[in-house]
């Protein structure tokens, strides 16, 4: 049976993201009291895995690294149809950059019996880097294809996928096992169902801490991160804004006239 691992990040709800601050001491992002949700782009990775499972037999494991509250996100994935959930949660994992995150995920996946493929989202909505998928692949010594928009042939020893490039795509053949990052156009993620939530009652979430992974504290979290945030500078805008007042109609007329007189509209 095909064994698929999907890496999911619990990210702060975008609607409340303005409450995020940078910790002045550790320079890491603090995320106090902000509800965590599935990174929206990871839902496409999850959906790709679920669709492959619908076509053939597959076992899907979800792995998420995050605070204990990320357990809710793992639970939600189980309700969406994932078979097994693993939460990597340890204070030592905190403050990780992409490199340390990929390394920690690698150590976790390495503990699993046999893995045929790993799916990641294209990027995360909070850190906005796209590095975890390819870095994880490199640690796992697996090939990687980023920005996959379509799985043309999947399930066998060799898969064919279409991956986005500038103004087009490339058709890629991959020997398995492999890592894929999935774009947001690849599919429309399914929504939660009541029966899915009920089925998730019987599915377990395993939490692994630092000792479970058998790695040194120095190679994970903030300590294991090659990059650090060194300072924050405020950007001063060079523009002063004139708010155009009036009725809806007047505002439109005034704006058009202003743009014509500044020479940017004919």
């Amino acid at each position: 049976m095909l064994s698929i691992v999907v890496c999911v990040k619990a990210v702060p709800d975008l609607d409340e993201a303005d409450k995020i601050r940078i910790d002045p001491d550790t320079k890491a992002l603090t995320r106090h009291d902000i509800p965590l949700v599935i990174n929206p782009l990871d839902r496409n990775a999850l959906e790709a895995a679920l669709q492959i499972k619908e076509k053939g037999e597959a076992h899907i494991t979800i792995i998420s690294m995050g605070p204990p509250s990320a357990g809710n996100v793992v639970k939600e994935c189980l309700a969406l149809g994932v078979d097994q959930g693993i939460l990597l949660s340890d204070p030592a994992f905190a403050g990780a950059d992409a490199f340390a995150t990929a390394y920690t995920l690698y150590k976790a996946i390495d503990k699993l019996d046999s893995v045929d493929c790993v799916f990641c989202g294209r990027a995360s909505s909070d850190g906005a880097t796209e590095w975890v998928g390819p870095e994880l692949a490199t640690f796992l010594r697996m090939p990687v294809v980023t920005m996959v928009r379509e799985f043309v042939e999947a399930g066998g020893n060799s898969w064919k996928v279409k991956a986005d490039i500038e103004d087009g795509y490339r058709l890629v053949q991959v020997e398995m096992p492999a890592v894929f990052t999935v774009t947001h156009t690849a599919n429309t993620p399914r929504t939660l169902s009541f029966s899915g939530i009920i089925k998730a009652r019987k599915k377990e979430i395993t939490t692994w801490i630092l000792d479970d992974l058998g790695v040194a504290e120095e190679s994970v979290g903030l300590k294991g991160s090659p990059t650090i945030v060194s300072d924050l500078t405020v950007v001063e805008s060079k523009r002063t804004c004139q708010i155009i007042e009036g009725t809806l109609e007047e505002k439109a007329d005034i704006l058009i006239n202003k743009l014509i007189s500044s020479g940017v509209l004919l």
Binding site: N72, K75, E76, T191, L192, S193, F194, S195, I198, R201
Partner: protein
């Protein structure tokens, strides 16, 4: 001590219901409003999303969940479409008597189809003479051989033209004190949905009349025993019907609050958003107070029901409070919108019309007071 928090799983149910309502139901609302019909896509969506299976036991293909979960789902669906929530709630109202009073054969025959959405249900009690005085029922039944023959007319029946499984109450042709309920299938000879109503609100929710003309119902479709009809109908209406209206009302209150906050943040008056004006702030506060109080009443009754108790009196209190509160909330939401509150492009005008229909559904506020006063005096 009382725990007022939802479980993690219940929060997940709410999230699922909200996602469903926002992605599947919300896009259907404009068409339903425009035509007052076009309920088929909403019904299909409800069935596909297992919304009709919530309280049906697992052994009959349902989800085996409780009234709290049902209330959560109704609240979230009513938040985007009270009309859809109404059809869903009455579907469950038609199903509940079969769950509670049905024989094993009846349960096996009807519940799996009602859970999967192959069938849809309703209850037909109200007649032209009124709904809150069931003893005034003039639809009659008469036994002949292995069949009952029903004659009469039912009106203001939600799902009248959709439901193919209808729990109908009738009175013995020869004994005016003997009421019985029957499971009538829409395909049975002599059954016919007739007039469709055009309501001021909850447009797109099917309400209409049915006609029973020598309608032949097999004897095995008698529900709960001959002469037990009043108990069957009142249990369903008391617990499920009122409970469902609480969900519809709470969802509408939440919608009113959200629309009001959004407008108050965006509408600029005297150079600043109107949310800075105390007159507006107090209205928002009042909607919120009503909503929180209504939720406590509603979920209290649902919890009693889930714990195995009877909750029709507690639901009467909650039904009264939330229906009244929804009407207040819709009025205040429209007031906050000022002139825009009179323009059909603004969703609060729909809320105002919908709130109007919440009142009489499953019993007016005055009838609730009759029930509550009977309760306190008993």
């Amino acid at each position: 001590m009382i725990d007022f928090t939802f479980t993690d799983e219940q929060e997940l149910f709410r999230k699922a219901a909200r996602e469903f309502a926002e992605t599947q139901i919300a896009p259907l609302v404009p068409k339903m409003e425009e035509t007052g019909r076009d309920w088929d896509p909403a019904i299909k969506a409800l069935c596909d999303a297992e919304m009709m299976a919530i309280t049906i036991p697992e052994e009959y293909g349902g989800l085996g969940l409780g009234y709290v979960e049902r209330l959560i789902a109704l609240e979230e669906i009513a938040r985007v479409s009270v009309a859809t929530a109404m059809m869903m709630q009455v579907g469950a109202l038609g199903t509940a008597p079969i769950i509670v009073f049905g024989s094993e054969e009846q349960k096996k025959k009807y519940l799996p189809g009602l859970a999967s959405g192959k069938h849809f249900a309703t209850v037909a009690v109200t007649e032209p003479s009124g709904g809150s005085d069931p003893k005034g029922c003039t639809t009659t039944y008469k036994k002949q051989g292995d069949s009952y023959f029903l004659n009469g007319r039912k009106c203001f029946i939600t799902n009248s033209h959709i439901a193919d499984v209808q729990v109908v109450m009738a009175v013995d042709e020869e004994n005016p004190d003997s009421f019985s309920t029957f499971i009538v299938e829409s395909g049975m000879k002599g059954f016919k949905p007739t007039h469709e109503e055009h309501k001021v609100g909850m447009r797109g929710c099917n309400t209409g009349e049915i006609e029973l003309k020598d309608c032949e119902v097999p004897a095995e479709n008698l529900l709960g025993g001959e002469g037990k009809g009043m108990r069957v109908a009142m249990t369903a209406i008391g617990d499920v019907g009122r409970g469902g209206m609480v969900g519809c009302s709470l969802g509408l209150q939440q919608a009113c609050l959200e629309a009001s906050i959004k407008f108050a943040n965006e509408r600029i008056l005297y150079g600043k958003p109107i949310n800075r004006l105390q007159a507006i702030q107090f209205k928002l506060a009042e909607i919120k107070i009503d909503l929180d109080a209504g939720r406590l009443l509603g979920y209290r009754a649902a919890s009693i029901q889930d714990a195995g108790g009877r909750s029709s009196n507690e639901f009467a209190v909650a039904k009264y409070y939330t229906a009244e509160a929804a009407q207040r909330a819709a009025k205040m939401a429209a007031d906050i919108h000022g002139g825009y509150g009179c323009m059909e492009e603004f969703v609060v005008t729909r809320y105002l019309r919908d709130s109007f229909v919440l009142g009489p559904s499953a019993g007016t506020s005055d009838i609730m007071k009759v029930i509550i006063s009977r309760w306190v005096l008993s």
